[in-house]
Amino acid sequence: MSDQYVLETRGLVKEFKGFVAVDNVNLQVNKGHIHALIGPNGAGKTTVFNLLTKFLQPTRGKILFNGKDITSEKSAAIARQGIVRSFQISAVFPHMTALENVRIALQSFQGNTFHFWKSGRSLESLNDRCMELLDSVGLTEFADTTTVELAYGRKRALELATTLAMEPELLLLDEPTQGMGGEDVDGVVELIRKAAVGRSVLMVEHNLGVVSTLCDRITVLSQGAVLTEGDYKAVSSDPQVREVYMGTASSTAEVTE
């Protein structure tokens, strides 16, 4: 059974001083799926990501990656095994060039990261691969641009290229389209679709248009607990979901077109 899922949580709980932010969550992400985690603000979505990547310690419960228990592993080790996350707030290295951003990810698999006596030139062998990755997200001409100077949408594209440089088996994306205008959103959707080939993706997303076009399966979180799960059709017609998440009936109509 377990080889059906790339990621599984069993009875995952996170309490903050008596407040239950994540409440007994059993999550199953199928291999090859793009799986959405949705829910109202404060539902616990980011906290789940923090637990999966061990930026926070679970109070109780288990996390399985390809059937293997990774609950007690450290953040860096989890990333190396193939679960790489992005952040709700765009995560780049602002005072490095776009190329250097991507290279930091590639470098992480090299044996030289402690070599303080080696010339920086020794990293140049990675530049070709960096350029390929930048190409794939449309940032070729910004390779030598310092990242702070990039527009917001390009920063997010760079973040994705950096994440993909890790060749992750499972991609965790926390609101990849947050704060973007329509055109940028379409661009990111395309990038994610491309990136998802041959991998699994778990993404938090508020834009239900994005969820409906991109995602195979949806888990709805409310007050830390799983409310329901299914494909877009099933979830969007669930009256409970309408009530807690989609709010009024009119906004539901809007997103389902």
Partner: protein, 331 residues
């Protein structure tokens, strides 16, 4: 295709830009080196040596603050540990050569740095600074109390000795060139480190630590190594300083000294390699000038004022502001 020729043209121009930037840096460094080589003909060598010792101290400190993002408020402990260890060995054992004494002082500071790092590295921001301060106060206390340190008076009359048994370091010119060589070693080591694969990881950690973790970096290990290197080089600065002044002084261990190195670094510019050197030269010179005049008692107040102005108005420091100005006006 038009697209691909365009692309390769972009790549070419990028490579050109990188090359010309490298060349400018090299020329600047050579000019500075020439100035340092002829300086003792113009200025008093002991004064210059003081500047070089503090410059090395600040460069070491900046490896942490400027390139790793860690604010240590306990670096006086490493300066003093280097100085006292070297002072003790050279004063007590006639058969310990000057270079051995300096190496031993550096090693002692390095080991102490590892100890500090293991205790403090998991803390962030102000907590990290506070723990390093507390640990440095323990070192200060030890140096006041221990029977072999000369207590409040410090250690006087440390012999300069001979370098490699050959060069008489009582000669200030010889001493100067030795100190210059040590300074250059430290400076170039930091320059190399900052530009190395390891240095790239440090920069990443400084700029976005959670992101570095999520890319598979065990960040604490990198921070520990940076801290140990910084402590070792600060110790080297202290060791050499003790040999120059033939004195290991409690001043070096006082928390004022930890503050002063922060001031030097911020004033000169944290993000730059040269900044701490300029900052150290500025502060040492200012202290000297003030101590000569009627404002002698005002040194701390004036330094404090400069500190405030720097933090409020010149965040990038002297070198940082000059760089910004050049960028704006030359391109």
């Amino acid at each position: 295709m038009a697209g691909s020729t365009n692309e390769s043209a972009i790549k070419q121009s990028i490579i050109q830009q990188r090359k010309s930037a490298d060349r400018k840096k090299l020329i600047l460094n050579l000019v500075l080196l020439a100035i340092l080589l002829i300086a003792p003909a113009v200025l008093y060598p002991v004064f210059l040596m003081k500047i070089l010792c503090f410059a090395l101290f600040a460069v070491a400190f900046n490896l942490l603050l400027g390139f790793t993002g860690l604010l240590s408020f306990g670096h006086a402990a490493f300066l003093a540990t280097g100085g006292y260890t070297t002072g003790y060995l050279l004063s007590t054992y006639a058969n310990v050569s000057t270079e051995m004494g300096i190496i031993a002082g550096t090693a002692a500071a390095t080991v102490l740095g590892l100890g500090f790092a293991l205790v403090a590295i998991r803390r962030q921001g102000i907590y990290f600074a506070m723990i390093t301060l507390a640990l440095a106060q323990l070192v200060f206390f030890f140096l006041v109390q221990a029977p072999f340190t000369g207590g409040e008076d410090g250690m006087h009359g440390v012999p300069r000795g001979y370098l490699f048994g050959l060069v008489d370091l009582q000669n200030n010119t010889a001493m100067y060139y030795f100190v210059l060589a040590v300074f250059l070693f430290g400076y170039l080591l930091v320059q190399r480190t900052v530009n190395s694969p390891f240095g790239q990881v440090l920069k990443a950690i400084k700029q976005n630590e959670p992101r570095a973790i999520s890319l598979g970096y065990n960040v604490n290990l990198y921070k520990v190594l940076a801290f140990v290197m910084s402590a070792g080089l600060a110790g080297l600065a202290g060791s050499v300083k003790t040999v120059v002044f033939q004195l290991a002084s409690l001043n070096d261990a006082h928390w004022h000294m930890s503050g002063e190195v922060i001031l030097m670094t911020l004033l000169g510019g944290t993000g730059t390699l040269l900044g701490p050197v300029v900052g150290a030269a500025f502060v040492v010179n200012l202290e000297y000038q003030l101590s000569q005049g009627a404002l002698g008692d005002w040194v701390d107040a004036i330094l404090g004022g400069i500190f405030i102005i720097t933090v409020i108005a010149f965040r990038s420091g002297i070198v940082g502001e000059i760089q910004k100005f050049m960028k704006k006006n030359l391109s």
